[in-house]
Amino acid sequence: MLFSIAWKNVWRNKLRSLIVILSISLGLLGGLFYLAFANGMVQHQIDATIKTQISNIQLHNPKYMLDNEVKYTISSPDSIINKIEEIKGVRGVTSRIKSTAMVSSAITGAGITIIGINPVKEKNVTNLYKKIIEGTYLIPGKKYQIFIGQKLADKLKVKVRSKIVIAALDMSGNIIYGAFRIVGIFKTESTNFDLSNVFVLKNDLRKLIGFPAKQTTEIAVLLNDNNQTNYVANKIKKIFSKAISEKKYEVETWVEIQPALKLINEMFIQYSMIFLIIILVALSFGIVNTMLMAIMERVRELGMLMAIGMSKMKIFLMIMLETIFLSITGGAAGLFISWIAITITHKTGIDLSVVSEGLNALGYSSFVHPMLGLTYYILIGSLVIVTAITSSVLPARKALKLNPAEAVRQNV
């Protein structure tokens, strides 16, 4: 009956309870939506970085990791690729030749990373071919094509079919030059990436810098599911344990390649959680205030309950239950409307193109799809319960301090 009375008491003053429930709901909606928005932005950045730039897992010569010199290679990449492709969960594997270089047009020059790829295999690993805003992707067999980012094209003041010159170090450390014709211009979410990376056919780069056959500088692995990254990485390490122990190559996940990406993700989530906790604390004051008012209005009734023999523990519990029911109703409503809002905006996306330049400069997409995992709903649901219990203590203690002899005669 205690539960039943507590629940009925919540609805004694419908308007007041609804206002509290609404404030909890809107508070949670604000906090959760902010969390989902931040999470969506960061997850999209991670996803875009993996799919456009670094993939889930990369293999390099350990020395290459230290100073990015093209002479530190991996031997027999094809046999490595074949073995990795057999691992469950792997979507695509490709090898790349990467070297630092200078690119110059008739107007100006810039420092870049030149990446020699096999465009057919690269399509299985990165989605750059989907980011073309002008021209085409690299065409297999066609010599000396180059695929560059929009930001670099703007900087060099070049366009599709323009010729640019690459200056790079060959395997002996001599500077060599090569002229390439722009076949396509891409634009990713990261202007920094667009500014500092150019793509050419692997064979063209190999010839230009005298890169040995059956060697590569990088093997990139894309997975079906990012959550399997550690699992597949461990599998690769197991398969190539001998070569790894001989320091022939090293396996790294995207977290190890770009630790800042994960840190930014965690930081965003932490900030959002702090923001949400501040909202919950503020809401708890509202709940406490409402319940104290409710108790002040019911002094005579509470005095009567004490007089007829309701134990202090039961009165304490009843007030606690009322507060908890009120908070949890608001919490459940808040979680539900947040879920609806997040689900809808996840599907439709939120267009922030008015501030796209700033967002792209930071590596974020200007189209955000808010998202929040079930874990967060459970975590925040638990936080609401904790808030409810904490908020209930003060009103319940207040009720216990009443003197039944005085309380039953209040306003008589």
Binding site: M1, I5, R300, I308, G309, M310, K312, V408
Partner: protein, 241 residues
Amino acid sequence: MSIITTKNLEKIYNESIVPVHAINNISLSFEKGEFTAIVGPSGCGKTTLLNLLGGLDKPTSGEVFIDGINLTEFSSNKIINFRLRNIGFVFQAYNLIPVLTAKENVEFIMELQGIPKQKREERVVHLLEQVGLKERMNNRPGELSGGQQQRVAVARALASKPKFVLADEPTANLDSTSTGNLLDIMLKLNEMENTTFIFATHDSRVMKRARRIITLDDGKVVQDENIKQNMKKQVNPADEN
């Protein structure tokens, strides 16, 4: 046999500032089956005495014995449990739980006592029938008149099968018809079930029907009158045989 005895009962408010003797050295005893009114002018100590008898308040000095048990020695938790099982209360402002129906209000105290559901149901129906509200048992207090609410409060006070019922100005908010009905019910319960009622009142209609009138003034008993002609006969089982 006395069910309530007070010895040199004193209650002083504001002891350290300006002491007010609300109850001043009262020694009384109440027998089973009494229908007693405690009367006197406002501020004479009627409610305070009732609170002390019911264990709602602690005396400054003196003792209250219920069936020989010294109530003043109880801790606050123990006294709550004692009230639950031994004392019924009727208040001036009815003090029913507004979110519960008449039936649930009466049943509530039995649930606190841990009485099984079936027994509770039977007793609730019986009590509401006795106070003439069986047909209104599913109505909430807000849907009942003041007199009906006070009758529910009487049924609630009796639900726990208390040793006695303390009623503080139970008719103060009622019209004369409702007062008459309520007093009829209480007298009937007093006569049929030998329930002890002690009222604090300044309502002449209650005084007229009381069988003992204790008059207080300035916290002291100034008159303790047994109304002989109205006094209920104590039936001696031996005489019946």
